[in-house]
């Protein structure tokens, strides 16, 4: 079954500016095994893959392929040495046919070769048929369905008989049936004696396939073992769900006007190219409510929020206070009171903290803006301390507070918060949690929160939706969630 160690990653480290993406990462990959590398956004798993493939250069550590240190080699050299990668997003050559795309993978890196050779065409055909593309060899990529494009990426990756295959988010965008077919293809790779590394954000999706799972968080390895072991691991659960889901005693909120919804999302669909990102999602938020949408990476939370904010086209209807948001531009939606604090924060890095906040209050009168600013400083004292500093010099937690503060400067009627806890240390989560608590108590604020970290989301929420692969799969109040979902969630 599992054979010799093919790939040995030792003490790998990578920094992007001030951000540590990967820290002291070590693991082995053996021939004939499938290893799942999992972690949430920002965990460093994709960076590890880029480092192995030579698409980025490591700051420290070694990557040994059959004993030879390939860290620092250019990507094409690593590819020729026997490592190949299936990218998360398909990248076909649009002007070439499927056969030509696969043939390309078989070509030597030579300046002088003019003819591709009959044997190359034969091999290309065989490989394409192996992955199930036999019927579409002469077609162009833009005519193919999504799953076939993924097959083509796989074909390209295995064309040159690689020793190590890296696959990024293997099942993203695929239907249940297609996932099964792909899993079989990946199993075949393992059975052929190759070393396969799957990178994904969800343990569940790779559980059935992986022989071994390694979990990452904030650039480090936090757990390793079989899929079950990792799913039960305390640290992993804390990181993903935020810990034990407790049944929180909740005071029922004072009766508010519940007759009309503040936000109404009705059968919304979003497509990225051919992939379905949101599949007939419906939900609603009432005045003064705190609604959470929980789900893992790739579930579609950010896509949903981008649809609400008018940043992405969608089918279906989204209404705010009865007004159809499709008739407004993104900036108008923000001015109407639907303010998003995005996952990526979108701060103005070279501007000071104060300037960032003041821009948020740009639509208010000078007096109002000063008052609002004072209020935000009271909520987040650290921002007042650092008000003259450039935003990009702040720590992750401080940047999140700034992003939140800036959104609050706009006096939102509906605050849409996308994954505020992403990549933050637990101590900051406490601060954020308290801040949100205060917001709710002192001001009438309606909140729509998207989170992976269920422990953070639940205590404040009036209602919870679960979003999985673009669909709402569960809806109810937090108490029921603790009962019904805590085991099945991860």
């Amino acid at each position: 079954m599992t054979g010799a160690v093919r790939l040995q990653v030792s003490e790998l480290g990578k920094r992007f500016g001030g951000v540590v993406a990967v820290k002291n990462m070590s693991f082995d990959l053996r021939a004939g095994e499938i290893v799942g590398l999992i972690g949430p956004n920002g965990s460093g798993k994709s960076t590890v893959m880029s480092l192995i493939m030579g698409l980025t250069r490591a700051n420290s550590g070694a990557i040994r392929l059959d004993g030879v240190d390939i860290a620092g080699w250019p990507a094409h050299r690593i590819a020729r040495a026997g490592v190949s990668i299936v990218f998360q997003h398909s990248r076909p050559l649009q002007r070439q046919t499927v056969l030509e795309n696969v043939k390309l993978a078989l070509l030597p890196d030579s300046l002088l070769r003019l003819a591709t050779g009959a044997s190359a065409a034969e091999r290309a055909r065989a490989i394409a048929e192996q992955v199930g593309l036999g019927g579409v060899l002469q077609r162009h990529p833009w005519t193919l369905p999504f799953a076939d494009l993924r097959r083509m990426e796989l074909a390209k990756a295995v064309a040159r008989d690689p020793k190590v295959v890296l696959i990024d988010e293997p099942f993203a965008g695929l239907t249940a049936g297609e996932i099964k077919v792909f899993s079989d293809l990946i199993r075949t790779l393992r059975d052929e004696g190759r070393a396969v590394l799957l990178v994904d954000h969800s343990v569940k999706s790779v559980a059935a396939l992986a022989d071994r799972v390694i979990a990452m968080y904030l650039g480090e390895r936090i757990a390793e073992g079989s899929a079950d072991e990792v799913m039960q691991n305390e640290t992993v659960r804390r990181v993903y769900i935020g810990g034990k889901i407790e049944n929180v005693e909740r005071k029922t909120a004072a009766a508010a006007d519940r007759s009309t919804n503040l936000l109404d999302i009705d059968n919304v669909e979003v497509f990225y190219g051919k992939a379905t990102a949101l599949d007939r999602v419906s939900l609603h938020v009432q005045q003064d409510e705190f609604v959470s949408i929980v789900g893992l990476n790739g579930a579609g939370k950010t896509t949903l929020f981008n649809a609400i904010s008018g940043l992405v086209p969608f089918r279906g209807a989204i209404r705010f206070s009865g007004q159809d948001l499709k008739t407004l531009t993104a900036a108008q939606i923000a001015r109407a009171g639907v303010v998003q604090c995005p996952e990526t924060r979108e701060l103005f890095g070279h501007m000071s903290v104060r300037e960032n906040l003041e821009l948020g209050g740009g639509h208010l009168s000078n007096d109002e803006r000063q008052r609002q600013l004072a209020w935000v400083f009271d909520l987040f004292p650290i921002l007042e301390q650092r008000q003259a500093q450039a935003a990009r010099t702040l720590s992750g937690g401080e940047q999140q507070m700034l992003a939140l503060g800036r959104a609050l400067m706009m006096q939102p009627k509906l605050l849409v918060l996308d994954e505020p806890t992403l990549g933050l240390a637990p101590v900051i989560l406490g601060l954020l949690s308290k801040a949100i608590e205060r917001l709710r108590k002192e001001h009438s604020l309606t909140l729509l929160l998207a989170e992976q970290n269920v422990t953070f989301a639940l205590p404040h929420s009036d209602r919870v939706y679960v979003l999985d692969h673009g669909r709402i799969t569960w809806h109810g109040d937090p108490a029921r969630f603790a009962e019904e979902m805590s085991t099945g969630y991860l």
Binding site: A75, F87, R91, K103, A105, L107, S110, T116
Partner: protein, 307 residues
């Protein structure tokens, strides 16, 4: 694909045969225009190889052309070397120039690379003017040898040259190397992940482009009998080349040649407008960019593909 190629092949063959027979019907003046147009066609095709395939915008193809042209001219006028030697020397000079330009410049991102190519032309222009003693400065220089004094013969030389270059460049674009080049241009990271040294291939593309540009530049000198900044170095010429390739359709090679011929002939017909002909041509090119970014031939090929 193969079908299209054979249809394309037959159409091209017919066009070439007709072109070869034109001297029996057209005046020497019109033949002269077409002769210049054919050399221009080679300039445009060489540019398309670099841009359409390797994905690099060269705002100064006349740097390579000018190097080839002036090297050949100087060797012939000042040292009396025979035409074939001068042409080869010109091609060589262009390739060397191309490498010197490409190797450091390819490390730069899109607009910066284009910028450097533009500056290269401006520098060459200024150097030609400074060293007027050798190059004839702004007025230009004459060369003692010419390919022929007969308009028909010059025309056939040009046509043969164009056809040869077209066959070579088109063949290259359809070859395995061409496929790798396309991949490098469309998706450098993807190509690297498949094991291709993208930089190596782009530099090679630059050299091939330089080879054809330089040779054509040298040949043009020996057709016209003169070399001047206005005909082979000026930025205006560079722009015309780019317009020709874009008009005809990027990534088709043959489209570039068509665009060039169309452009030169159009310029001729617009001559009565005086200065405004540049205006009209630029306006047409702008319109093509805005409405038909695929170019005319590119658009036609695409349409037939979708059917």
């Amino acid at each position: 694909m193969t079908f299209l190629r054979s249809r394309l092949f037959w159409i091209a063959a017919v066009v070439v045969v007709i072109a070869a027979l034109l001297p029996f019907w057209l005046s020497a003046y019109l033949l002269g225009i077409l002769t210049a147009a054919y050399y221009f066609g080679v300039f445009a095709m060489a540019w398309d190889l670099l841009f359409g395939f390797a994905g690099e915008v060269n705002f100064g193809p006349t740097f390579l052309i000018g190097l080839g042209a002036y090297t050949a001219a100087i060797l012939n006028a000042n040292y009396g070397l025979p035409i074939p030697v001068c042409v080869i020397a010109g091609a060589f000079a262009a390739v060397v120039g191309g490498i010197l330009l490409a190797v450091p410049a390819l490390r730069l991102r899109g607009p910066y690379f284009g910028l450097v190519t533009l500056v290269a032309v401006l520098l060459l222009q200024n150097f030609v003017v400074i060293f007027a003693g050798v190059t004839g400065g702004e007025i230009g220089m004459t060369v003692p040898d010419v390919l022929s004094i007969d308009a028909d013969v010059n025309y056939w030389y040009a046509l043969a040259f164009l056809v040869l270059c077209a066959v070579l460049l088109f063949g290259l674009s359809r070859s395995a190397v061409g496929l790798i080049l396309e991949a490098s241009g469309q998706d450098a990271v993807g190509a690297a992940a498949l094991g291709f040294n993208v930089t190596k291939h782009k530099i090679a593309a630059f050299c091939v482009s330089a080879l054809f540009s330089g040779t054509a530049g040298a040949m043009l000198i020996f057709y016209m009998g003169t070399a001047s900044v206005n005909t082979v170095v000026d930025v205006a010429i560079a722009v015309q080349i780019i317009i020709a390739a874009v008009l005809g359709g990027r990534r088709t090679i043959l489209g570039a040649a068509l665009g060039a011929v169309f452009l030169i002939v159009a310029n001729e017909f617009l001559r009565p407008l005086g200065q405004l002909n540049t205006f009209v041509v630029s306006a047409v090119a702008l319109a093509v960019i805005l409405f038909f970014p695929e170019g005319l031939l590119g658009y036609a090929l695409h349409r037939s593909e979708r059917e």
